[in-house]
Amino acid sequence: MSLASPDLAGRQLPDRLKTPLQRFLVSWELLLLSVAVAVFVLNSFASPYFLDPWNLSDATFNFTEKAMIAFAMALLIISGEIDLSVASILALSSTAMGFAVQLGADTPVLVLTGLAVGLACGAFNGLLVTGFGLPSIVVTIGTMSLFRGISYIVLGDKAYTGYPSDFAFFGQGYVWWVISFEFVLFALLAAVFAILLHRTNFGRAVYVIGNNPVGALFSGIRVPNVKFALFLLTGLMSGVAAICLTSRLGATRPSIAFGWELEVVTMVVLGGVSILGGSGTIPGVVIAAFVMGMVTFGFGLLNVPGIVMSIFIGLLLIAVIALPRIARRLLARRKV
């Protein structure tokens, strides 16, 4: 082809206007990181017990399970969908494991059961959203009631206990010194999701779909397949969280993880993921997890009841979105 003919060739464009470092300096992640550091410092001043390694280790349980779900939720929200049924998937998955225990299942079977139920629930959501073209927010409000409803039908006001002793490792085991198995799993999954979102074609497709689903289709991206995969992934991660939480509590009640969907969404949004889709990062969600976990833990040490912490979380959620908007508006006003 004669495309390279000199009369047509224009200027070569530079790759980047800003270096990655410059971008980081004005990023949400840096702001969030400063908040995390501030919370850490404040906590260590506020309570002498805070800096104790075992206390810190305990504190990680406040966010590890939720964060596992939040990683998958982040991808789903970036793609422009949402799954409000995650806590209910967790409950159903836990109920299924409890049921399997009654049938005499051993730990490997329990793990498989938990993961399989998570996947199945994710597939159900994904099918309704991508197969029938229904809005995910309504579908998952429905399945949120349905999945937990099934747990209530199975369990009523009873509880499953009697999990095998080696099953306890997932939620209570330590890999080395104060480093719990859950924390290691959290770190590992953070890395896996960061690579998946930021370093693979699949992750790129997630961003493309979130910014312009029609354009994605017209660019040859299999939009329904990607979305279905994301619902599967979210279901699977809810199953993983179910294994950890069930193992940690050693019992399953139908009200397990009640209200977690909101905390998970808060974590994702706090992490800088746009609730409208199209932007956000996994490192942001990781830092948000730490912030939320440490705030909860710090308040706990100060004997502030959990419900009061929720006020703080709610304020945080609104503030982190409102403040940049107010700042931008003030800046714009000054310019004009």
């Binding site: 399945t143 999945f147 209530y152 139908p254 409208l276 419900i307 709610g314 609104i318 979105i321 908007r325």
Partner: protein, 327 residues
């Protein structure tokens, strides 16, 4: 033709409810005794009131997840007011409840309007905040029946022409909304804002202000329901009506109110709430564990949204003359 479809959507839901009631009645005739039906309606009244408020919010492309927390906080506030000043007249209590609820709605509305924060985020946030404030003001204590004055508790239960006041309030709110939505400029504005916000701006409608107005309405109704709820059950504590916001949204979805905004009707919201109310009340009658209720309402939401989606799916363009005749 599409208009007919919308009308028929409510008709289908109405028919489904009739079939449901008939099926129950065939085995348990006591269920359709007028007194029992009145009971069911009275039981569903709070859901009806909140669903109507939620409807206008959803019409404007927003959602209000804070209604249950608003209800609980207002309920707690008026209950505390009552314990401190038992002599306060009921109209004053009602006014306080309405204003307090409207104020919380206004907070939601202003955040959506002035700061342009996505509605789901705003109300997720205020939902936890309002719930937390109940704990702060009550110290986590319950306010029980014996601490409330008799007039305070009696109001929603007082019978008027054979129906409790609570039922009459739901009927009045429904009638008021029918007028508001169908016959007032504000009501048409809600549809315009949700149907085509871009066009609304060009016709001189302030989209944010309309959304804010919807939140204030929803909040005021949640506040009103807060008092009625606390007085009816004669107890106030942090967790009353926990998770009720989802039942309210469910009633709207089942009633055919489009979550994408701009489509919905008072009749739809009413029927959606009644459907859930009948299911809830029928379960013990037909000897099914009440634990089934959650799963049933979940399934109802999914079926309703699937049904609405398939009936309003846009068809491709018809260009061929032949195809036009065939259709």
């Amino acid at each position: 033709m599409i208009r007919l479809l919308f009308k028929s959507r409510e008709a289908i839901l109405g028919a489904a409810i009739l079939v449901l009631v008939a099926a129950i009645a065939s085995r348990f005739p006591a269920f359709v005794a007028p007194s029992n039906l009145a009971n069911v309606f009275n039981d569903t009244a709070p859901l009806i009131i909140l669903a109507l408020g939620q409807m206008v919010v959803i019409l404007t492309r927003c959602i209000d997840l804070s209604v249950a927390a608003n209800l609980a906080l207002t309920g707690m506030a008026v209950a505390m007011l009552n314990t401190v000043m038992p002599g306060l007249p009921i109209p004053f209590i009602l006014l306080v409840a309405l204003c307090l609820g409207a104020l919380m709605g206004l907070v939601n509305g202003l955040l959506v309007w002035k700061l342009d924060i996505p509605p789901i985020v705003v109300t997720l946030g205020t939902m936890t905040i309002y719930r937390g404030i109940i704990f702060v003001i009550s110290g986590g204590e319950w306010i029980n029946a014996h601490e409330m004055s008799d007039t305070f508790k009696a109001f929603p239960r007082a019978a008027l022409f054979g129906l409790p006041v609570l039922s009459w309030i739901a009927i009045a709110v429904a009638a008021g909304f029918a007028v508001l939505v169908g016959r007032t400029p504000l009501g048409r504005t809600f549809f315009a804002v949700g149907g085509n916000p871009h066009a609304a701006v060009y016709t001189g409608i302030d989209v944010g202000r309309a959304q804010c107005a919807a939140y204030v309405l929803s909040g005021a109704l949640a506040g009103l329901t807060g008092y009625l709820w606390v007085a009816r059950y004669a107890v106030a504590y942090v967790d009353i009506a926990a998770g009720f916001e989802l039942e309210v949204v469910a009633a709207c979805v089942i009633g055919g109110i489009s979550i994408a905004g701009g489509i919905g009707s008072v009749g739809g919201a009413l029927l959606g709430a009644l459907f859930l109310g009948i299911v809830k009340n029928a379960l013990p009658v037909i000897h099914i564990s009440p634990f089934w209720q959650l799963a049933i309402s979940g399934s109802a939401i999914i079926i309703a949204v699937a049904f609405n989606a398939t009936s309003s799916r846009t068809k491709g363009r018809v260009i061929l003359k032949k195809a036009e005749h065939a259709l």
